[in-house]
């Protein structure tokens, strides 16, 4: 790799806020590291680690802190092509319309456009949450009756292509 290619690489780092790059091929290997590359890690206290974990792309700030992360609608991409469906409000999560009823959805369900997924109780009001997509429910991430905070992942969903 010559100096010109290196410079291009550095520009790429600068413009994309990358702090470390490593390229290895059959016959060559290049590794670049920015000043303070290790620094931001301490900005993440233990409790932030979860949100900071599953990001395939390196970035300086925890992803959830990125302004305007779409919460109520299809949420943040995670591994593969599935998405998380995040809570749009603080409240209490109910999987079913009533204590006696069955859960609205369970893992494995195929859901159609605008399905009701769950109920969040806030300020004594029951709010039905609908998803703006259709696909397969991979996982229900919250237990019935649990308190949830804003932006907390509730379901992982594999959208239908």
């Amino acid at each position: 790799m010559n100096l010109e290619e290196l410079k291009k690489l550095v520009r790429l780092m600068n413009s994309n806020d990358l702090v470390e790059v490593e390229i290895e091929s059959a016959d060559s290997k290049v590794r670049l590291k920015k000043a303070g590359a290790n620094a931001p890690t301490y900005a993440m206290s233990p409790m932030m680690a979860p949100q900071a974990m599953p990001m395939p792309v390196p970035q300086a700030a925890p992803p959830a802190a990125a302004p305007g992360a779409p919460a109520a609608k299809a949420g943040d991409p995670v591994e593969g092509d599935s998405v998380t469906f995040n809570s749009p409000m603080v409240g209490t999560f109910y999987a079913a319309a009533s204590p006696t009823a069955d859960p609205v959805v369970t893992a494995g369900d195929k859901v159609q456009r605008k399905p009701v997924l769950c109920i969040i109780e806030a300020l004594k009001v029951m709010n039905e949450l609908t998803a703006d997509l259709h696909g397969e429910i991979l996982e229900v991430l919250v237990g019935n009756g649990e308190a949830v905070e804003y932006g907390q992942p509730l379901f992982t969903i594999k959208p239908k292509k």
Partner: protein, 447 residues
Amino acid sequence: MFTRVLVANRGEIALRIIRALRELEVETVVVYSEADEEALYRRFADETICIGPAPSGKSYLDIPRIIAAAEVANVDAIHPGYGFLSENADFADICRSCKIGFIGPSPETIAMVGHKARAKELARSAEVPVVPGSEGLIDDEGEARRIAAEIGYPVIIKASAGGGGRGMRVAHSELVLVREMQAARNEAQAAFGDGSVYIEKFIERPRHVEVQIIADMHGNVVHLGERDCSTQRRHQKLIEEAPCPVMNEELRQKMGEAAVRLAKAADYVNAGTVEFLLDIHGNFYFMEMNSRIQVEHPVTEMVTGVDLVKEQIRVAAGEKLSFSQDDIVIRGHSIECRINAEDPAHNFRPSPGRVGLYVPPGGPGVRVDSHLFSGYTIPPHYDSMVGKLIVHRATREEAIETMQRALSEMIIEGIKTTIPLYHRILRHADFQAGEIDTGFIDQFLAS
């Protein structure tokens, strides 16, 4: 005492309240927006709840979200801090109807003292001196002329709904009175959707001197001396100190008793501040009352030895004040500099972003209230104040020396701050002599 309290604020005041609650051994819940995910003080709370995205309208100012958080967290009281919902009577009222304690005065008191004209009437009724002027609003130009002639020029025209200097005009003679009044009306209409104005005697070279009071639910009201906040830029306080450099014990008594009279007239409970203008002859005039803990409360804590935040939590829980008026003695001199993420060299434009190395000053006589830490990214969505540097020394002169020393060892890499400005102000002969009025900084910056 409360067992569990929710902190409905952010930044340094959220940290300040968490500190008080921890020392009182009360469980602490703090709410935060997505932009404050990184906030280190979340580690010090027993529980933290994300209530919304970065914009405060959808987080710290959103009453339903905060009440919902209080309910899922099952707290028995909310501390609103300053700003945001701290002086919102509706919020205090909703807390009450939800059976959640509000650490502050009653909704009725908040509403009353929050309304300029009503607050002024209240002051008159409590025989607290007010700036001579129109009793209530003015729309008729003839009336304006009559009153202006009566109280004498210069006069100032103020918007009823005003604040931050908007809708304020000074008229130095009858010639310009009507035009300035018209201008004030238009500004007020544009800024607050309310064009109503009133007229007052314009006090030249006044000091901003405010009195800290605190009241319990058992009828006890105590004043804790004054703060001089004359060092302000465009009505935004930069440096506060206690005691006021030109104060004497007799005047302190008079102002303190006036503040207590007003608090009693307003059925005031919890911590509050009565703001006065002090003219060069030692006359003081009521300006307004703030029904919250204030940014500059630490200078009063330093010279009185009273922890105001702990005390306001205790009285909100129904306890009696832990001290009487006689226990309050002013010792030494305290100065606070507000550290803002602003660039003084470029008209104080905000300078948010990632902080590299952060080293707060320390050693004798130094107190730092700040949520900063090395590697923290200051979000662009909120107030630019990122910390407060407070010193407490035996004399004002020594306090200034310590403040200069502390400012010079405070390191905040990566952003611009107001620290260089404070170096210049503290070197200024007028500041060192304590000869400052509310116009000092604007003239200082113009020169």
